[in-house]
């Protein structure tokens, strides 16, 4: 399975989204917002809305919920910004708000919305590469399977894996966002990956 996955990965272009740019710094924008600059918070939104939305979507499996949650996260951040003490980065603080909102939202719901993979909702940002059609087909199949497996994970493991592998955060940031010890984060990421491996392997065997 590993070779098959690696083969697909190797053929794809690197689309790793980099961390926020250095200028203007988040802290500067936050200070500007506090000073009454109406555009500063808009810059912060522009900088992070996709990442927040992406995380909310991966957690909620619904574009509508992800939109509401992202909007709510920014509204809450804007309201709470006067109380932001700068002990953590703005990005970490914002992600913590988004994670808490998403987890609270999911707890309120009595049922899980099925993963809407394969219905075209992901296509706006899915840019096919110039690989051979077979490679694209295999990549789409793998993506669908991976998202299905991701949806089967327990919430606590899924969010840790998403923050690490999808958002590219380090363990310390994840620990700060989720409010959990480093050891717990380490364990959850490892166990989440192992579960995903098992789920994908089981599908291969089937």
């Amino acid at each position: 399975m590993a070779e098959r996955v690696q083969k697909v990965i190797d053929g794809s272009e690197a689309s790793r989204i980099q961390s926020p740019g250095p200028a203007p710094a988040d802290e500067d924008l936050v200070a500007a917002v506090r000073a009454g600059d109406p555009d500063a918070f808009g810059q912060l939104m522009t900088r992070y809305q996709d990442r927040v939305y992406n995380l909310c979507y991966r957690m909620s499996h619904s574009h509508a919920d992800a939109l509401d949650l992202t909007q709510a996260a920014f509204v809450q951040a804007w309201r709470a910004l006067p109380h932001y003490e700068g002990r953590s980065t703005f990005f970490t603080w914002l992600f913590r708000i988004a994670c808490n909102l998403t987890l609270t939202h999911k707890r309120k719901r009595r049922y899980e919305i099925p993963t809407d993979t394969g219905n075209g909702e992901l296509t706006p940002m899915h840019r096919p590469t110039q690989d051979a059609p077979d490679a694209n087909l295999l990549r789409d199949e793998l993506r669908t399977r991976l998202e299905s497996a991701l949806a089967e994970l327990d919430e606590s493991f899924r969010v840790a894996v998403l923050l690490k592998d999808v958002e590219g955060l380090d363990y310390a940031a994840i620990s700060e966002i989720l409010g959990l010890p480093l050891g717990t984060i380490k364990s959850r990421i490892h166990r989440g990956r192992m579960m995903l491996r098992d789920l994908l392997s089981a599908e291969d065997d089937a």
């Binding site: 590993a2 939305y53 992406n54 309201r79 706006p124 940002m125 899915h126 592998d165 999808v166």
Partner: protein, 482 residues
Amino acid sequence: MTAQGCKSWRSDLSAWIDGELDAGRAAAVEQHVQSCADCHEIVEELRAVSNLLRKLPRVSAPVLQSPQAAQRRSALKPPAVTLYRVATRVIPIAAVVALAFLAGRFWDTFDFGSRVPTQSPDAAPVAADDAFRSITKSPGAPPDLPSELPVLAQNYKPSPEVALGRSPMQLREQEPVREAGSLDALAQPVLAVFCRPATWEQYEQVTSLVNQRAVQNSQLAPMSASTEYHLRRSARSEPQVASLDLGPEEAGELLRTLASETPAGVAFEIAAGPSQMQVVQQLASGLQIEMGVPLAFHESSERATGYDPGVKPEDAPPIVSDLRLSAAQGERDVESHKDRHERAGSAPTAPPIAHSSGRQGFASPPPAVQKESAPSRTARSPESRQRGGHPARETSSPPEFRDEAEYESGKTQTATTTRNAIATPGDAARDADAARLGVANPQARVTVVPGQPHDAEADEKKDAAQKPSARVRVEITILPPE
């Protein structure tokens, strides 16, 4: 490398892949991965999964509103009616209403203003309880029941009202006898079985047992919700009554089952009308046969109203003085009355109603009906045991009384004998008596109380070496007609 050895490394594999380990640990993990094929394969798979997750397509957010606009929009938009929102608003209101309701029920239950017990805890128990103590302490008492019962008997605690000096008999006498009178109005013979669990554990056991029987027998009605409500409502104060209506056969079966399977401290009552008197008699005797239980007969102090329309209720004799109301005494009196008329050459008429002697109970405690061990043993009076005669024969030869004083003095003794005879199991004469008594006796209530009565502590002080009694106590309370 063994699987056990690899286990200590595998928890660090992901952190090693992510570069989150310190240098020393990372070097150790790397060395192990290079030497262990299994761990190496896992690392490759974890890397593949991680890389695949990184390649997941990104979704971009639609155009978001500014926080100010979003806030204004959310302020204009009515909040969505969600289950969570409704629950967070309804539950507190419901909790307040429920608390108010429970407080009202609590107040009604205890009725602090008018139902404060007036008797002191040191008040003397009534004769019925003395009688039962005498029964359980009398020589030749039946052997203890199965071994698990004594343990449970030690845990038997009287209800608060009993602890305050009000005996169960007093409590029952305060209760209306509606159940007995109303039963006769039913078209088919029905016995009402009442259960008095002392603890919630017992209640659960009894409820489960009864409902299990109800499933097996469609004629047996399960405990009703209203009954359960009353049980739960007053569970804090005293054992309560659960009732169910069932046919005589089912009642007998259930009573036997309950008496044998439920722990000590659970009381059962059967309320029966005149037409069920025979059933009750047989049931009580059958219990004695099957379980070796003593039978104690207690009489209500209520007056025998309704026998003679011309007699005012306040002038009606106490039931304890009316021999027709007592199974044993009624039999004795019927016999003697019949004999008198036969000797006088006149047709027998209904036995006379005894005059009111003003006593509210027997001068001497109700006797112990001794079932010594095996079903073949029969209950006998002490005189009968000494003579070796058959107890039932004593019933068939009632004494003649020359005057009222002699009648009164002999009544108790004869009643003792005949009550023993009634309790004699399997006796043909007893069955015949019971058949007649089914007509002569209007109502009866049987109470089976497994285990030690409420004065168990006092008994233990008297005889510390003696094991707690686990006998099943059976009371038959004669009730007045409606």
